[in-house]
């Protein structure tokens, strides 16, 4: 940014942040679990728009964890290390950072799914951590890896308020079959873009602009939005030589009254 500012270069910044995945009391939990596991553990969580953390109603938390565990086993087998479909962490630095995060969920945090690591392969199993503290490092840093912390909530207003209290995320996913709740979440929370009842898929369709808001980025691209990002919109007023109304030219003499009349009758209507 600093370098760009020196030359006054316009900058499009695609950043990230902690993209919440919010599960409503009213939803198809089995379907939600599959779509969450897919979006989270795709590329071993190294996706800018991956769900960063999960918020579920307290009453269905246990069932959510069970369904997520089922989906992980269904997708990647009992030992995801052996799955040809599960990616590795890009480099040792990222691996060390992520392994560090496993212990950074706060004093009550508990790994309920996964947690296995293999440094030689830079492998981290699809991992779910329950009872994380909202103030712990894992809930303040962007995770960008295959670790999914879970927060529980009592009612939707509380969950919305929690997300609103944090930096505007790049993506948000809401799993719900309740129309009113869907509308509430979309209207009340600011975020780059997202899905109702899915993860990731809003960025796959090039007709939808993709970009962040606030801390999650500036500017957007894909399709027409990308064309606009790399274009200048040049405004042209093309006038004919006649007539050349003398009103705007000095000397103004008594033209002010005429201008006032023109303004009140033409401009302000």
């Amino acid at each position: 940014m600093e370098a760009a500012a020196k030359h006054l270069t316009p900058v499009t910044l695609e950043l990230g942040g902690k993209s919440p995945c919010l599960v409503d009391r009213e939803c198809d939990l089995n379907l939600a679990a599959k779509r969450i596991v897919w979006g989270k553990f795709l590329n071993a969580g190294q996706t800018c728009v991956a769900p960063d953390y999960l918020m579920v109603p307290k009453a269905i938390k246990a069932e959510s964890i069970e369904q997520i565990g089922n989906a992980v086993r269904e997708f990647y087998g009992a030992d995801p290390r052996l799955s040809p479909d599960y990616a590795r962490i890009i480099n040792d630095r990222q691996f060390a950072r992520l392994v560090g995060l496993l212990d950074e969920g706060g004093t009550e945090a508990e790994i309920v799914i996964g947690g296995e690591i293999d440094a030689a392969q830079r492998y981290i199993a699809p991992t779910v951590i329950d009872r994380v503290s909202p103030h712990s490092k894992i809930m303040t840093d962007e995770i960008f890896g295959p670790i999914l912390p879970i927060l529980e909530y009592e009612d939707l207003s509380e969950a919305i308020a929690f997300i609103q209290s944090r930096p505007k995320p790049l993506a948000l996913y809401f799993f719900s079959t309740n129309r009113d709740n869907q509308t509430r979440v979309i209207q009340e929370i600011s975020f780059g873009g997202g899905c109702i009842n899915d993860t990731i898929s809003h960025i796959i369709y090039p007709a939808l602009p993709f970009g962040g808001v606030g801390e999650s980025g500036m500017g957007s691209y894909h399709g027409k939005a990308g064309f606009d990002t790399f274009s200048h919109r040049k405004s042209i007023m093309h006038k004919l030589p006649f007539p050349d109304l003398p009103l705007r030219f000095p000397p103004f003499n008594n033209k002010l009254n005429l201008l006032k009349w023109v303004a009140s009758n033409l401009f302000i209507r």
């Binding site: 030359h7 950043l15 479909d85 630095r93 990222q94 790399f230 200048h232 040049k234 042209i236």
Partner: protein, 194 residues
């Protein structure tokens, strides 16, 4: 020109400025032809892309195939370019009668695209497609953290495109700094944790 030293960067940028000034990229036919060529290049190198991404990230070929999704951007751009690039008329007020007013999209010039490592092909190529469609020259800096993909992008672009139009500069943080010391008309930076 797969590897550039920092000292060569001002030359690369200047070559793009000169190319942009020839006005070639303003022609829609030129842009459409380049987009079609890029599509062919990606199609011809699909296996190489999948292998490079697998080498960098251990991704399955199925997931690796998402990298090829930049093709859908090209298809859309080819289909829509004429409409996107058309001057858009706006209504003029009565006091400006007789007149017409319009908005004419025009290319910015030379763009710098700094790509991340997590979807190392796709996230370099999609903004490049957008930049080409809009009529810019572009320098692409793939991520050094995904070296196989970076090398592949450099190779296929330098083989097929005029360096004044599209150049790939490989390297790490020093290269980024050397690039950012130059003036561009747009910087597109997709940041992920290093």
């Amino acid at each position: 020109m797969t590897t550039q030293t920092a000292t060569g960067i001002p030359t690369i940028v200047q070559r793009q400025r000169d190319f942009f000034r020839t006005g070639q990229t303003k022609s829609l036919d030129f842009r459409l032809a380049q987009l079609a060529k890029l599509k062919q290049v990606i199609l011809a190198n699909q296996d190489g892309v999948l292998a490079a991404v697998k080498a960098d990230l251990g991704r399955s070929e199925f997931e690796g195939y998402f990298e090829i999704a930049s093709l859908s951007e090209i298809t859309l751009a080819i289909k829509q370019l004429k409409s996107w690039a058309k001057p858009k008329s706006v209504k003029t007020p009565i006091e400006q009668f007789p007149s017409s007013a319009y908005i004419q999209p025009e290319p910015l010039g030379v763009a710098l695209i700094i790509a991340p490592w997590n979807y190392p092909f796709q996230l370099a190529l999609v903004p490049l497609v957008n930049a080409i469609a809009a009529g810019n020259c572009a320098i692409v800096k793939p991520s050094e953290s995904a070296p196989y993909t970076s090398q592949l992008i450099a190779q296929i672009i330098s083989e097929q495109f005029h360096p004044g139009f599209i150049s790939v500069v490989e390297g790490g943080i020093e290269t980024n700094q050397a690039l950012l010391a130059e003036k561009f008309d747009r910087i597109f930076y997709r940041a992920v944790l290093m």
